[in-house]
């Protein structure tokens, strides 16, 4: 089985079988990390461009490691978003990469739809590494992989996503993916940070975490950005922490095996307390490891790799 599109633009565009394929393919790649030599040859001779218009350490290094462990050549291009409006246009940059014969372009951009522009302009495989408030499909995949590994399934699980849903591409990718895999998704956050008609994406909206905390199998905690306070979306970080912060106290009523996730980087003491972040429930550092495996699987499958012969 193979992926149906040349690009990975979002989890909205994948079906259940494709998501399963990526998750299944991620597992042998993760096993590879326990070996002393962590490199395999499938992408030898291929060029992967990491085109980052937004600062990102975690996602960029994760993709870089994933590509290198598949023996690809990796080229890093960082551009500041401020130059987007006046500098070289995205389409011209895309044509330059096409001329350089890049096989993959991994793009991170502050504006929704930027990967679509690339995908319709050039023939390279485009991987969306986060576009504005639209999607972050590999984060969604690694979150699902993490849950799947820990719980042995996705179907029927109750997953809460807590925080700034409005500005979160991670939330959107998780919602698309988890719904397709049969999980039930709850979004929890201040009313001002819940996007309009999000219910139509197949989620339930809560403004009070305590109302459902005891039912959840997983809680995925989103980073809250202090800038939102200036836009009058909530009055203060202290108030946010009081109402939505994930603390030991709040988790007393949770299931014993509740998983706590966070896409990082964390604001300790604001959306999540240090004691929860470092507790046995937390799989936050494992998400980082899984991210590399999932991104390897994505690169490998988009290159036309066969899921049967992954690490041979």
């Amino acid at each position: 089985m193979r992926l149906k599109h040349k690009d990975l633009l979002g989890l909205e565009y994948l079906d259940k079988e494709e998501i399963n394929l990526i998750l299944e393919t991620s597992r042998p790649f993760k096993e590879l990390f326990t070996r002393s030599v962590k490199k395999v040859p499938p992408l030898r001779g291929k060029t992967v461009v990491l085109l980052f218009y937004e600062p990102s350490t975690r996602t960029r290094t994760s993709f870089e490691l994933a590509a290198k462990r598949l023996s690809a050549d990796v080229l890093n291009i960082s551009a500041s978003t401020s130059s987007v409006a006046k500098g070289e246009s995205l389409i011209d940059t895309a044509k330059t990469l096409e001329a350089m014969k890049a096989d993959f372009v991994v793009i991170r951009h502050s504006m929704a739809g930027a990967p679509q522009i690339l995908a319709r302009t050039i023939s390279a495989c485009i991987i969306n590494a986060g576009d504005g408030t639209h999607e972050h499909p590999t984060q969604g995949l690694l979150d699902m992989f993490t849950i799947w590994e820990k719980k042995g399934r996705l179907s029927g699980l109750k997953v809460g996503i807590v925080g700034d849903i409005l500005h979160s591409r991670v939330a959107r990718s998780n919602i698309w993916g988890l719904n397709k895999m049969g999980a039930r998704v709850y979004v929890v956050g201040p009313a001002t940070l819940i996007p309009p008609r999000i219910e139509d994406m197949g989620v339930k909206v809560y403004y009070d975490l305590d109302e459902i905390i005891d039912e959840l199998d997983v809680v995925n905690v989103l980073r809250i950005q202090v800038e939102r306070q200036k836009e009058n979306l909530f009055p203060s970080l202290r108030e946010y922490n009081e109402i939505f912060g994930i603390t030991e106290e709040r988790l007393k009523r949770a299931k014993g095996d509740l998983l706590v996730m966070h896409p990082g980087p964390m604001n300790r003491g604001i959306e999540i307390s240090s004691s929860v972040a470092d507790s046995s429930r937390s799989v936050i550092t494992e998400q980082v490891t899984n991210g590399i495996a999932v991104r390897m699987a994505v690169l490998y499958l988009l290159a036309g790799g066969d899921s049967q012969a992954v690490t041979k």
């Binding site: 987007v84 409006a85 246009s89 951009h109 504006m111 929704a112 679509q116 504005g132 639209h134 309009p196």
Partner: protein
């Protein structure tokens, strides 16, 4: 100099004509209308030019009361020369141009520049709209009376709203003296903020910042209240939502002096068309929902919506070929307006042909106080000939200097085939003359 248009179906809503008659043009004026048998031998001589309109519809020259010609300032996007040619191509004999140029048309010199350039380089009639406030800053009234004397037919800060209700009140009061319509761009900027598309499910899915419909509706309601207060002549530009239509319908029932227009893209496309992030769908106000389209159609049919205007807003490829967030708002419309109306409204029996033509002729003429939009004897010989059966795919080449159209590739039915301005044929068989 005489010419005669023979064998066409003449539709003149002002004079309630819809029948097969010939139209005689003499010295740039309509000289006679009647069946062939009613013409005396002297009416048509050997030197009379005959235009055969067999199987076609002949209407008063169409009027587009809302265009952006970009001159002065952005002649790379459009000029008065190219914009009027696009108008002729699209079947329009008269157009109004909005004052949000660089510099803003907020003084007599600007108005004179537009009129002089149009008379030298234009191929259709151009009626300038002056700004409401100096520099369209929304702070101080422009010299509305002096601009009126120089030739403006309306005032507008289009592109921007007049956010200050006190200034809007004064404007509505003051402009009454000149019987000038105040063309209001309804948008509460605090609500629309940096939104780029309609707020709703699609904006949530696409991760694009939404503009709530209330940003328009609140200003529609405010302006209607101020029109009631002042008795000023209010015209609401590019109406897009169900509630806007309802508010205007109620206001008209209460005999408040309000008229309005919508644009073809608002009843032809919806927010769904933004999927794929095609920046040619980025327009302000934004494309709305299927429910709004239904309400617009109802409003068009019952007369709540008086006119259809293009809001022709040219932008260069390099400006539009950007990320959705930073591409400019605007769609060109002069060359696609007639086929969109015929395909999406007349063919679907939402409007009769007579109703549709009224919204492009007598209605805008009445709002603007123009002696245009009719085929009355003695009026200017501005005419449009339309082939209702001509089917074409919209190509990527336009007479306009810009090609930011979301309709490229769409097959439409019903196109203008001749445009006649003051008795002079400026477009025939789809080609400019």
């Amino acid at each position: 100099m005489k010419s005669i248009i023979r064998n066409g179906r003449v539709v003149d809503p002002k004079n309630k004509i819809d029948k097969k008659v010939d139209v005689l043009i003499e010295n740039g004026k309509i000289a006679k209308i009647g069946e062939s048998s009613q013409f005396r031998p002297g009416d048509v001589t050997r030197s009379t030019v005959t235009i055969d309109a067999q199987g076609k519809v002949v209407t008063p020259g169409l009027i587009d009361m809302h265009t952006h010609l970009r001159e002065p300032g952005r002649e790379d996007e459009e000029t008065i020369a190219s914009g009027t040619r696009a108008a002729a191509q699209g079947g329009f004999t008269s157009i109004c141009c909005m004052p949000n140029t660089e510099p803003v048309i907020d003084s007599v010199s600007g108005v004179k520049f537009i009129l002089a350039t149009a008379s030298q380089e234009g191929v259709v009639n151009v009626y300038p709209i002056g700004s409401i406030t100096k520099g369209q800053k929304g702070e101080e009234l422009a010299e509305i009376g002096k601009m009126r004397i120089a030739g403006i037919v309306g005032i507008s800060d289009d592109g921007k709203p007049v956010m200050n209700a006190q200034i809007m009140r004064r404007t509505l009061e003051y402009a009454k003296m000149f019987n000038l319509p105040i063309i209001s761009h309804c948008e509460d900027l605090n609500l629309s903020l940096d939104g780029v598309m309609n707020e709703g499910f699609t904006s949530t899915v696409l991760g694009l910042k939404g503009i709530p419909r209330q940003a328009e509706e609140i200003m529609v309601a405010r302006d209607i209240a101020l029109a009631e207060l002042t008795g000023g002549k209010l015209h609401l530009a590019h109406i897009t939502t169900r509630r806007s239509v309802e508010l205007i319908r109620q206001a008209k029932k209460k005999k408040i002096s309000v008229t309005c227009e919508t644009a073809p893209h608002y009843f032809s496309l919806s927010e769904e068309d933004v999927r794929g992030y095609n920046t040619n769908t980025k327009v302000n106000p934004p494309l709305r929902t299927k429910d709004d389209i239904e309400a617009l159609c109802e409003g068009l049919a019952d007369g709540t919506i008086d006119c259809i205007a293009s809001d022709h807003a040219p932008h260069l490829d390099e400006e539009k070929d950007l990320e959705y967030n930073i591409a400019p708002f605007g769609i060109i419309g002069l060359e696609t307006m007639v086929p969109l109306i015929l395909t999406n409204l007349v063919s679907k029996k939402i409007l009769s042909l007579d109703q549709a033509i009224a919204k492009l002729t007598v209605n805008p003429a009445n709002i603007l106080g123009l002696e245009k939009g009719t085929l009355s004897i003695g009026s200017d010989a501005d005419l449009t000939i339309i082939d209702l059966n001509l089917k074409k795919k919209i190509g990527s080449q336009f007479t306009s200097q810009s090609k930011n159209s979301p309709f490229i590739g769409m097959e439409l039915g019903g196109f203008p085939v001749a445009t006649i301005v003051g008795g002079k044929v400026v477009m025939k068989d789809g080609k400019l003359i």
